[in-house]
């Protein structure tokens, strides 16, 4: 159970459950996924509340929003990482590579008139399951 980690946030039951759900969920759930998941505990929660809070929590930096193939997804994994995306089935897998992050940030240093804060790389291709077809 989450408890007042950040002080400028009002910790409502809805917020706590959403954050809790994301931290336990292994993957990149959509708004709908989060809504369905949280509903098991808070049966009367409104979908608009889920939308608002996901955007709010991302704004506050407690979660990240990642948009893949036109679909908004969320995750509580704040460690810089990359994504492996199957163009066949749409599966999304985290991929940590500090080397790549470092290299990207080094490249970012060359960019003029822009201050890079973070980077991530997407790897597009075919997963094993999709290949066996």
């Amino acid at each position: 159970m989450i408890k007042k980690e950040a002080k400028d946030i009002k910790y409502t039951n809805q917020r706590i459950e959403i954050l809790d759900f994301l931290r336990k969920f292994d993957g990149h759930p959509t708004v709908e996924d989060v809504y369905e998941g949280v509903r098991k505990k808070l049966t009367r929660i409104s979908k608009a509340t889920v939308y608002k809070n996901l955007r709010f929590l991302a704004e506050k930096g407690l979660i990240k929003e990642v948009n893949i193939k036109g679909v908004s997804r969320f995750e509580a994994n704040l460690v810089p990482h990359h994504h492996i995306i199957c163009i066949g089935c749409g599966s999304i897998t985290d991929y940590e590579s500090e080397d790549l992050t470092d290299y990207s940030l080094k490249v970012a240093g060359d960019i003029e008139n822009f201050e890079v804060e973070s980077t991530d790389t997407n790897f597009y291709g075919i997963c094993k399951d999709c290949k066996e077809e």
Copy 2:
């Protein structure tokens, strides 16, 4: 004017104009942008046709779809490149770095059970204009 580059495609006026528009447009237009742009030449084109053709052309590999901050955008720039995204104003700028692409593909070689076909990196941060505020 575009003329039958790929043979398995029926070159309709609508398709030609959409492709032409994207090739002349310097940036990453949304569906709405493309619709408005193309409408200047084909005043009676339907928005559904724009949707269908953008997805179709992306499928055929003549254009690329890039999703940034939950918004679908399209571009005719097929050279592998990266994107610099301002979290302030949302501006999107292309950034070519063959080195980074090569490095990413080298990293991709280590990924198990997945065949990477392409990669791209997003740089998030603050642009010069947004910083001056």
